[in-house]
Symmetry: C2
Subunit: 136 residues, 2 copies
Amino acid sequence: MKIGELSRATGTNVETIRYYERIGLLPEPARSAANYRSYGPDHRARLVFVRHSRELGFTIEEIRSLLDLSDDPTRDCTEADRIASAHLAQVEDKIAQLSLLRDELKRIVGRCRGGLAGDCRVIEALADHSQCESQH
Amino acid sequence: MKIGELSRATGTNVETIRYYERIGLLPEPARSAANYRSYGPDHRARLVFVRHSRELGFTIEEIRSLLDLSDDPTRDCTEADRIASAHLAQVEDKIAQLSLLRDELKRIVGRCRGGLAGDCRVIEALADHSQCESQH
DNA sequence: CTTGACCCTGTAGTTGCTACAGGGTGCATA
DNA sequence: TATGCACCCTGTAGCAACTACAGGGTCAAG
């Protein structure tokens, strides 16, 4: 299949596929006589793996490690679990941090009475960290 | 005060202060005879405003608008409330999205029995989106 | 007089793409 | 046969919001 077909089959931008190849996440595919990239089911499966991992928020480097593991089925797989666990912890941290942030924003928003900017509670709150209840 | 003092006073990297100046978020300060930047309380207050807004996740462009409002106290301030509300909505979206993600990751993590990568449930789950319960 | 901490400008790197510019290929239609 | 259009190629530059140098100047203490 050509790059456009792979793009449609996986919901991945054509430019992104070429980018993944450039950074070595996808192997260089065979080329047609016209120098067009030609992909098979293995390429497709690998790209699906990459996209799915990206959707789950893994970084390119994490995905690289996960691909290395999956390329060598004789390796110990606790490493994969370690990467995923570390990522889960990061996501949970991020949620906690955003929740604090949301609470502060809620307190700030809606204090506006529609008056002049000079009296605006929103702007005042941004200028003065001590009005915040938490370390965000 | 010199840039290093302002840096310590606000917990902002020196390079970041110069960056804010370059993109027009902070005004160009006066210079000493040795061409050192020289800041006063107004600069400091403005930088505190910027940093606090950044900590709350506002983009530079949003901060630019908020600073414009705060620079002209006769303007209507509903705009400030609108920016903050839109940002709050974005944060809430992000939290919801990360929560889905966290749930999927939790299901994936810990399925590893410490065997070989060839049988790894973690890697398998990443390769196969259909094992997921939600659209993430 | 030298050491070290600070300051300056300008540029390049980071992450994960995305968007051209400027060209070539391949197939259907007039 | 011409020509239009969708697709493909490479290479480079842009995005956000910084961060990290390189290569130089300034200043006070010992």
